[in-house]
Homo-oligomer: 154 residues x 2
């Protein structure tokens, strides 16, 4: 049943809730500040436990717990590596699922930059043309859309 | 200092942390499942307390606390309304800041739909052309980008 957003909610049955709602499912997995900060570090290229802990500013216990959750949820993969003369250690590498979360993380940052502004906020650009990168809502025909022009079908 | 993402993190100083990081600032405000579920309801068109509580499935106490936080953070505006013969009540209306969070919420849903799939997940389309709507990372020159082609300048 299609419904127009910001519109006739009361005329339809129920909003998709619990397991039916993909936003809800996503927030159950990545809906904590510490999780998002670890994903941010993974996008920067961090793979090692000590670097995740140091750069996120979280305790080792919290870092370990969150990394384990991200591995269980399939956003990071735990892989062995070994440097000469050292014992085998593990690093945390972005999976396809982890890479696919990037637009959500950047969209949060974009909102934070605009609505909670601070001096010295970073920005993203495209490596090939230097143009600023943004998150957009766009339909398959190329139209940029907003909440007033979205229809939800469930 | 520009740095390439998923690249030479260790060669630069620090990742933007705490107040410098807009992702961190955003997650401090909207980084809970209950907050995102209330914003979802606001996008559906919900404005009244009872509807927020019923549709999000949260207790009245949690709903009241989260709505108050969203008003304080500027994503919702609390406005008086009055129906004939009733006392004045308040409703919660999306602000520009609240509307601007939509791409982040939809990006989370898009990730949830793909990586935590369930039957019966809803989808979004553009009301004018019916084409499916997605969140994209795109530069000002129109190129779709991914994590391997982003440069961060801070």
């Amino acid at each position: 049943m299609p419904i127009k957003l910001a519109g006739n909610l009361t005329s339809r049955g129920n909003s998709p809730a619990g397991d039916k709602c993909p936003i809800d499912r996503a927030m159950q997995v990545v809906g904590s500040r510490s999780t998002m900060l670890l994903m941010r570090e993974a996008y920067y290229g961090t793979t090692r436990f000590d670097t995740f802990a140091a750069r996120s500013g979280m305790t080792e216990a919290v870092t370990a717990k969150r990394l384990r959750e991200l591995v269980e949820a399939g956003l990071l993969s735990r892989q062995p590596y070994r440097e000469p003369g050292q014992r085998t250690r593990h690093e945390y590498v972005l999976t396809e699922s982890g890479r696919d979360l990037l637009p959500a993380v950047i969209a949060l940052g974009q909102w934070g930059n605009k609505h909670l502004p601070r001096e010295g906020s970073p920005w993203l650009s495209h490596d090939e043309c230097d143009a600023r990168v943004q998150v957009e809502l766009r339909c398959a025909n190329g139209h940029v859309t907003d909440v007033d022009h979205l229809v939800l079908t469930s």
